[in-house]
């Protein structure tokens, strides 16, 4: 993650954002560490069932991650449920700038917060892949409620697998995570599963923000 990458997320060709934007990004990135509190964890389960093409059952919990996701994890021998957050501080900082300070700074902090949690999750996933490789397993891509039409309400079931307030992350009645810069989801683990370079093709949502982003990133 660098200034040029954040510039590209703002819409500018890398290195071509007008001042004061590059200077502002640099200052925000320098201060971001002091506002972040990255925490996360995984729970690996080997007792589950995938049936009816789109249903994953863990204990008495039934997840409905859609056919596309269930298909990707169907050969899994274990499932890793994960949660990770960039912490409350980055959200408070962004909100304060958006409402009382500089909205541009608030927007950049918000974007950076998303990048921090995604980067942290990349690292957590890489570490999981390394650990599983030692045991002879591969892993799948990660999938979260909200992806490819997976109902966000399934997050209530996912959260019930973890201790309350795990890593400081809580869930509202309408299935929103707090802090906002948090991600939860599943990763399949098995000898016959694989992680694909680009999985957005699974989803038919042409206007998805993340689909655009992945395409952009992969083109760089």
């Amino acid at each position: 993650m660098d200034t040029a990458w954040i510039e590209s997320l703002l819409g500018y060709p890398e290195g071509n954002a007008p001042e004061p934007i590059p200077g502002m990004i640099s200052r925000i990135m320098e201060s971001a560490q002091g506002h972040s509190d990255i925490q996360g964890g995984t729970l690996i389960m080997d007792q589950f069932e995938i049936r009816d093409k789109s249903l994953i059952q863990v204990n008495s919990l039934e997840f409905h991650p859609t056919k596309a996701i269930a298909h990707q994890v169907r050969s899994s021998e274990k499932l890793a449920f994960f949660m990770i957050t960039a912490g409350e501080g980055i959200e408070t900082w962004s909100r304060s700038e958006l409402t009382e300070g500089d909205p541009l700074a608030g927007y950049i902090i918000d974007l950076l917060g998303s990048e921090i949690v995604v980067s942290a999750l990349d690292r957590m996933q890489d570490e999981l892949a390394g650990k599983m490789r030692e045991e002879g397993f591969n892993i799948t891509n990660r999938y979260s409620p909200g992806d490819c039409g997976w109902p966000v309400t399934d997050q209530q079931k996912l959260f019930s697998l973890f201790p309350e307030n795990f890593c400081g992350i809580s869930l509202s009645e309408s299935s929103l995570m707090h802090p906002i810069k948090s991600v939860s989801g599943i990763i399949g683990i098995g000898r016959n599963v694989r992680k694909t370079a680009y999985s957005c093709y699974l989803c038919e949502m042409e206007t998805c923000l993340y689909k655009y982003r992945k395409k952009t990133r992969s083109a760089l």
């Binding site: 703002l10 909205p103 541009l104 309408s174 929103l176």
Partner: protein, 221 residues
């Protein structure tokens, strides 16, 4: 350049005040803050400052944003320039000398917290002369209904970024229309389409903030 045109220029290019370094070619010049005050000091009616200075500047930004000629940061800087000028007009809104075009109630639907798009729409609509009541993110239908009832003739705007929360939008529109059949509801968000808008019974959909501004203009024309 005439004073109100200068003010429009500051809004369009996000020149907030004298101290603001952006845009670089306007460094050291007065911004929207100083120019709005100067205009009032010179006896320019507050309503003219709003309608002939601020609103056209914001409209030009909206059009450029729709055409991908500027990006979110420029819109945010223009909105900030607009806010700095609006501070001087506040007493005139309170006295009734400057009339808003109407009230616009906005929020992201229950279960959705993606508010950047909503905020952009809020800024553009406020910049077009409407009073915006921003209910924030993850807004319940009950809260929307309560606010709509408290502000008769307002327009309600709903935003959703996730395909999964589009269902909540559908339910919200249905409940609003059941209780307030004449309530105008407009919808927006990345995964939406005009077909979806028709399906859920909302009155208008726009893929960009300027479209919402133009639609609202038709309601008060």
């Amino acid at each position: 350049m005439e004073l109100l045109e200068q003010l429009s220029h500051c809004i369009e290019f996000g020149k907030i005040n004298l101290a603001s370094p952006y845009p670089p070619d306007m460094k050291g010049q007065d911004g929207a803050d100083e120019l709005a005050k100067t205009a009032l000091d010179q006896g320019v009616p507050a309503n003219d400052i709003l309608q002939k200075g601020l609103v056209p500047g914001m409209e030009r930004v909206g059009v450029k944003f729709r055409e991908n000629k500027v990006f979110v940061p420029q819109v945010l800087m223009s909105a900030k320039a607009m806010s700095s000028a609006m501070v001087h007009l506040k007493p005139f809104f309170q006295s009734g000398e400057v009339q808003r075009k109407g009230k616009f109630v906005i929020g992201t639907v229950a279960g959705d917290l993606h508010d950047i798009g909503k905020n952009l729409v809020s800024m553009m609509i406020e910049g077009s002369g409407w009073e915006v009541i921003d209910l924030g993110v993850d807004v319940s239908t009950a809260k929307l209904l309560e606010t709509a009832k408290a502000n008769p003739n307002c327009v309600v705007g709903l935003s959703a970024l996730l395909t999964t929360t589009m269902n909540n939008m559908a339910a919200t529109v249905k409940e609003i229309k059941a209780e307030l059949p004449d309530q105008v509801v407009i919808v927006g968000g990345a995964p939406l389409t005009d077909d979806f808008r028709k399906e859920i019974g909302a009155d208008f959909y726009s893929p960009d903030p300027q479209g919402a501004v133009e639609y609202l203009k038709t309601l008060v024309a």
